[in-house]
């Protein structure tokens, strides 16, 4: 009876879009770093934690006003409790579990046993409860119980909660956990020396040294000495005791420098990765950016021009030496293999307009990168460099938007320079954007004033502009010198030539100042 009721309820939840949306919302806000509201939630939690700890410190010397206690006990703890429950809720889906078990039972013609399912769900949730972050969360709620003074110290667990909301601490823990083996080994060694030295001093000095009365004192002395802290409240008085001191001080120095070097090396190993992640994160916030694969002559030349524009880019190269050189030259570079799926998948290809430039000098690599990018999302634009004319077909098959043959381009340019010198100079001026002959593309949707107008209504001459033609949409046909009654529509791109200031003036006049 109760079983069928629950199953029906589970199906109702499954069918409800509102429920799913709500759950997804909380899941995002709690766990999804991409969610835009998460940072507000995190800031609120950090604020609660800091005020709560502040009140604890303040309380030591001062009487605390009533509202502070109410705030600390009820507001903070309540929010923490709600958060705890929400996390427990979003950890797994109970209703899908019930439905799955129900359908399985139906399929196998077995009786549907509610207790089995509930046990399974409870086990699942229990797994969350005993995970470390959940335990910290739970302990952080405990100080709400005022009568037990000792619980007040659990406020400090609220500090541990900060780990959840701040990224840098997480990274610190991550870095250290990579050196788990070394650190455990050292800890074990430390405990071993401490125990031996402690027992030894206890045996030698328990009756002679008034400061050492128990084994605990002996261990305490051993740790203070081995860590080179040396409070001096307990000091050996016998020559045997001093001999032990000498030994453990020497081993202590060695061990401490060892620990330090392990931590430092862990960081220096991870530093590049951390930096690279930061570059990627910054880029992912941008609307459009370039991924340049390979750092050779071509990339250098390209960046030299591109830098003036200040556009967003990152260089990816497989060779760490090459990356180091790029960074030395002042460019943003990361050492990764762009032909690997997970490398490109790190970029925000769903929202941003990404252009991948395959400029390595190997065709195999370029094609592989191109395929990789295109398989990730066809909307990624790929421009690749080919070494050979025969390769062009392969690049086209790989879906590359533009294939570039440096030798061919150069040959063409040289040929033009010889056969059509005037045109060469003209094109050179136009393409290198010399200020007298700026050729520019005006997007109609950015210049709202143009839409719906006929060409003759716009007096290009008074703007000192030469109207060359209209491109109908990104992939549409190009109308050269269109008839005067052509109407400009929203997706048109107007090709104009003139001084840079004339073009800017034109854009401003028609309502699209910014580029």
């Amino acid at each position: 009876m109760l079983g069928t009721l629950l199953v029906r309820f589970a199906f109702a939840l499954q069918g409800s879009a509102a429920y799913r949306r709500t759950k997804q919302f909380f899941r995002d806000i709690l766990n999804n770093p991409e969610c835009s509201y998460k940072k507000y939630f995190d800031s609120l939690m950090i604020f609660l934690i800091l005020t709560s700890v502040g009140i604890l410190v303040y309380e030591v010397r001062h009487p605390v006003p009533e509202w502070m206690i109410i705030y600390d006990v009820y507001v903070v703890s309540l929010i923490f409790a709600v958060e705890y429950l929400l996390r427990l809720w979003v950890y797994s889906d109970v209703h899908t579990e019930i439905i799955r078990a129900y359908e399985e039972a139906k399929f196998l013609r077995k009786p549907f046993r509610l207790s089995e399912v509930l046990a399974k769900i409870a086990k699942e949730k229990f797994r969350y409860i005993i995970s470390l972050p959940a335990i910290i969360d739970f302990l952080a709620i405990l100080p709400a119980y005022r009568p037990l003074r000792i619980l007040r110290i659990f406020v400090l667990f609220r500090v541990f909660k900060l780990l959840r909301y701040t990224k840098s601490i997480n990274q610190f823990v991550d870095v250290l956990s990579n050196k788990r083996f070394e650190l455990y080994t050292l800890l074990f060694l430390l405990l071993f020396i401490m125990a031996t030295a402690g027992i030894a001093i206890y045996v030698f000095e328990e009756d002679k040294n008034p400061n050492i009365t128990s084994l605990f004192d002996a261990f305490y002395w051993a740790l203070v000495t081995i860590s080179t802290v040396g409070y001096g409240d307990i000091a050996p008085v016998t020559p045997q005791g001093r001999m032990i001191s000498i030994l453990i001080i020497i081993s202590g120095i060695a061990m401490i420098s060892f620990v330090t070097s392990v931590i430092v090396s862990a960081f220096s190993e991870k530093l590049d990765a951390l930096k690279e992640n930061r570059i990627i994160e910054e880029l992912n916030r941008k609307k459009a950016f370039l991924i340049i694969c390979g750092y050779g002559q071509m990339t250098k030349m390209f960046l030299r021009q591109e830098q003036k524009l200040g556009s967003d880019y990152v260089i990816i190269d497989k060779d760490p030496d090459v990356v180091a050189r790029a960074i030395k030259d002042g460019y943003q570079a990361i050492n990764e293999d762009a032909s690997r799926h997970d490398v490109l998948a790190k970029f925000n290809y769903e929202y941003a307009k990404i252009t991948v430039l395959c400029l390595t000098d190997s065709d195999v690599e370029n094609i592989y990168i191109a395929l990789n990018a295109k398989s990730l999302s066809p909307s990624i634009k790929v421009i690749a460099r080919a070494t050979d004319e025969g390769m062009q077909k392969k690049y086209a098959l790989a879906g590359v938007d533009h294939t570039l043959l440096p030798a061919q381009v150069t040959g063409m340019m040289l040929l033009t320079a010889i056969t059509k010198p005037v045109m060469y100079r003209g094109m050179h001026a136009i393409l290198t954007g010399q200020h007298v002959a700026h050729i520019d593309e005006v997007y109609a949707y950015r210049c709202v004033g143009l839409i719906g107008k006929q060409v003759l209504e716009i007096d290009f001459r008074s703007f000192r502009l030469l109207f060359i033609g209209i491109q109908r949409g990104e992939k549409g046909e190009f109308l050269f010198n269109p008839p005067a009654d052509t109407v400009i529509s929203e997706e048109d791109i107007l090709l104009l030539m003139g001084l840079e200031i004339s073009i800017r003036h034109f854009k401003e006049t028609f309502g699209g100042g910014e580029l």
Partner: protein
């Protein structure tokens, strides 16, 4: 400009260039140091292919090149290419020398050696990527001019003697009515310099000036015949 081009080097670049120049009805003279390449050039139909040692000035002089000739240096050996450019410049101070370079340093050396125009492989390609990214429509249009596979092209038209254009201001003439756009012109009075129409300088047209126009080939042909007339025809 003379339609005779001296092409030094028949390697990968030289080969493509020679074919391109032949298509444009240029007289191509090929000079190589490698007998295989000379044979290949002869086989491809370039009658005037010579095998010489380009480091010997006497052998170059034996080719009887006119002092104002057009020369192209695309030897496969980069060092030899720079050396050759230098010796050609020393021998023919008046000549127009083109060269292809494959690095920034080489460009500088070639320029110092006296090349009139150096085309830098990487520079040109990088420029192109840049243009594809920032000016896709314009790049496509200009490409079609170069590759000659489009109906629209770029043409230099000299104003003939006694044309109705003579004495008119460039702004007065409505070129677009003829389906032609005037990009700019080369004014003989002002030296051999290309002036863009949009530079904002009022300009008087004279016979002998070279108009640089773009338009459909048929429109350009028609326009070329129209400007031969002594009076502007009535608009249709």
């Amino acid at each position: 400009m003379s339609k005779r081009v001296y092409l030094f080097g028949y390697g990968k670049q030289g080969h493509a260039l020679a074919e391109g120049l032949r298509r444009e009805v240029f007289e191509v003279v090929i000079i190589e140091t490698d007998p295989h390449y000379v044979e290949a050039a002869k086989a491809a139909g370039f009658e005037e292919s010579y095998l010489i040692d380009v480091t010997q000035d006497s052998q170059i002089e034996a080719l009887h090149i006119t002092p104002d000739a057009t020369m192209v240096c695309v030897m496969e050996d980069e060092h030899l290419n720079v050396f050759l450019t230098l010796s050609l410049r020393a021998l023919y101070p008046e000549a127009t020398i083109f060269a292809i370079s494959s690095s920034i340093h080489m460009t500088q050396k070639l320029k110092m050696a006296g090349a009139s125009r150096v085309i830098d492989l990487y520079h040109v390609s990088a420029n192109r990527i840049h243009n594809i990214l920032t000016k896709p429509v314009a790049t496509k249009l200009l490409d079609s001019f170069i590759s000659n596979d489009s109906d629209i092209s770029f043409r230099e038209i000299a104003i003939p003697e006694g044309s109705w254009l003579h004495g008119k201001m460039a702004e007065e003439v409505d070129f677009s009515a003829y389906g032609v756009l005037l990009l700019g012109l080369v004014d003989l009075e002002l030296g051999n310099k290309f002036i863009f129409i949009t530079s904002g300088v009022a300009h008087k047209l004279d016979s002998g000036d070279i108009l640089v126009c773009i338009g459909y080939n048929e429109d350009l042909d028609r326009f070329e015949s129209i400007i031969k007339l002594s009076t502007e025809p009535k608009k249709i």
